[in-house]
């Protein structure tokens, strides 16, 4: 165990999946032509005033409920003042002293597989800034304010994480949760789910925290893990060399797999937070919370536990199946007409592989749950072997029809008739007297050879269990 203990806190900035912006009626859809979704308010025009989006408030509260947090009965918007071209008003409307959500928690599994509680300090609403595009041919930076005003929920964890792996586990859990809740699409490539990490280390056993650095530009789970690991090692080296860690912001460079101090744009910012006088305090009462609670879906942990209990599948499989609501729903639809363990294997195996290969999400699957169930039924009733089923699966994926149709069309019915198999087995043994003798002499491994031959002669259609049984029987004598 290392002499140094890492202490990590994550700040996640997540775009809420509202249709319009947090303070204006401009659309939030991704990918529009520059500045075609920036209303006068989003452009910071004089005289235009913010009006709060009800759905953003509901979404923030749903998150709060899902992490057992306190939802403020009164929360306040504050101005965070600084100058940057993608911040048109010269201030960001955020929340400072009275955030809408505070003191929540999330359970993750630590490195040893034990449950660990991670505290969530707060989650607050704020508006996103626009985009600055620096790369280009000329001496200008281009500003696109389409994104300005998109609602964000900033989720701040307590510094309870103790390793990069824990950080990723926490981040994944939040990612899954918010997609379950339908409050964010969690799309890291499009920037709707962004993560900063605060990292420090201290001598194990020490209470006081070390100096922390803030890591930015972590836009994938993999980068989060790599960046944090790099930073922990870097800080350890600095301290072991007798130096001190400088409190600074560092960017992660994925190509070089290192963190680098950000070239400071200007001196340290004094944000001069004060309550935004254009907005009144947000009041949330018990009735509102109560009605919101009723709209929450079954959350991932509960669903995972139910899958294990109700379907008898493995914990690890349940974990993956419940990572997305879409996958979990697909599984349950399949299981309506098939064995759960078989369904789990196929969804996590062949279906997953096919989706990945073709770059599809599960709700774009070329095989629907009931169709998969049909295939699994044919396996379960021994119509075809598991191996043949894989071929049938590919044919279904290619659109050739249902499992039964393909099996009939290609004549893939498994041969289970004992006498038919016996005939082939006898023929194979007769054709391979040498190997038969060796087998009888004790070379058990040769069974595989005989199985292979029988399968070849039956074009894979013989029921493997029967083949094994009959071969063993016939070779004994």
């Amino acid at each position: 165990m290392s002499a140094w203990e890492p202490v990590i806190g994550l700040e996640i900035h997540m775009q809420l999946a509202t249709v319009s912006k947090i303070f204006s009626g401009a659309p939030t859809a991704y990918g529009a032509e520059p500045n075609t979704q920036a209303s006068l308010l989003d452009l910071g025009y004089p005289g235009v005033l913010p009006v709060l989006n009800a759905e953003a408030v509901r979404m923030a509260c749903k998150f709060g409920l899902a992490v057992n947090a306190t939802i403020a009965s009164r929360s306040v918007f504050a101005r965070k003042n600084y100058f940057y071209p993608d911040l048109p008003k010269g201030y960001q409307i955020s929340q400072y002293e009275l955030p809408i959500v505070s003191r929540g928690e999330l359970l993750i599994l630590d490195e040893d597989g034990r449950e660990k509680r991670i505290g969530i300090t707060r989650a607050h609403l704020e508006e996103d800034a626009g985009k600055s595009l620096h790369a280009g041919f000329d001496e200008f930076t281009r500003i696109d304010l389409n994104r300005a005003g998109t609602p964000l929920l900033e989720i701040v964890s307590d510094p309870d994480l103790r390793s990069a792996k824990e950080a990723v586990a926490y981040m994944r859990k939040i990612h899954t949760l918010v997609r379950y809740l339908g409050i964010s699409d969690g799309n890291m490539q499009e920037g709707s789910f962004r993560c900063d990490a605060n990292v420090s280390i201290r001598p194990r056993g020490q209470q006081a925290l070390g100096t922390r650095t803030e890591l930015k530009n972590l836009n994938s789970f993999r980068f989060v893990e790599k960046a944090i690991n790099f930073e922990i090692a870097r800080q350890r080296e600095v301290l072991e060399d007798g130096g001190t860690v400088v409190q600074e912001t560092r960017l992660y460079d994925a190509d070089l797999d290192e963190t680098r101090a950000m070239r400071s744009k200007e001196e340290a910012n004094d944000y001069r937070y004060f309550p935004d006088p254009d907005l009144l305090p947000v009041d949330i009462d018990a009735a509102f919370i109560h009605s919101l609670r009723g709209t929450l879906p079954e959350l991932p942990d509960a669903k995972r536990e139910r899958f294990v209990a109700q379907y008898g599948i493995r914990e690890a499989d349940a974990e993956i199946l419940t990572m997305s609501r879409a996958t979990a729903d697909y599984f349950e639809l399949t299981v309506a007409r098939s064995d759960p363990r078989l369904a789990a294997n196929w969804i996590l195996g062949d279906l997953s592989a096919a989706l990945n290969r073709d770059g599809l999400e599960i709700d774009q699957s070329r095989i629907a749950p009931d169709q998969l169930a049909g295939l699994l039924a044919r396996v379960a009733d021994n119509t075809i072997s598991g191996k043949i089923a894989k071929d049938v699966f590919e044919a279904m994926w290619a659109g050739e029809g249902s499992a039964s149709e393909i099996i009939e069309a290609r004549g893939l019915r498994q041969i289970t008739d004992a006498s038919a198999i016996e005939a082939v087995v006898d023929a194979v043994i007769a054709a391979n007297p040498g190997q038969a003798a060796e087998y009888r002499a004790g070379k058990d491994k040769l069974l595989g050879f005989f199985v292979g031959q029988v399968m070849k002669d039956t074009r894979g259609k013989a029921n493997p269990a029967e083949v094994n049984r009959i071969l063993k029987e016939r070779l004994k004598s």
Partner: protein, 95 residues
């Protein structure tokens, strides 16, 4: 309480206001006078008094989540100081 030149320089930077050297002393003087003037507040008896951010004792109204803006970018940008291909332009920002 007089402000120092350094303080004023720092504040001017935070506020992104260029002050000419020739007006600097005057600005420091006038700001110091204003700060002196408002320092009167220090003596006010405000223990236990809640700050008043608003004359209104009302909660924030919520609006429905619908798209209500029809944005005519080109009309808006007709008056902009520096635009290209729909983007606003600023001198290149490094880092």
């Amino acid at each position: 309480m007089s402000l120092t030149k350094d303080q004023v320089r720092r504040i001017a930077l935070l506020a992104r206001l260029k002050l000419e050297e020739s007006e600097f002393d005057d600005v420091v003087d006038k700001l110091s006078r204003i700060v002196d003037f408002v320092d009167q507040l220090q003596a006010a008896p405000t223990d236990g008094v809640a700050p008043m951010a608003h004359p209104l004792d009302q909660p924030q109204r919520l609006r429905p989540d619908t798209v209500t803006e029809r944005i005519d970018r080109d009309a808006i940008q007709a008056n902009a100081p520096a635009v290209k291909d729909g983007f606003y332009l600023v001198p290149k920002v490094l880092g």
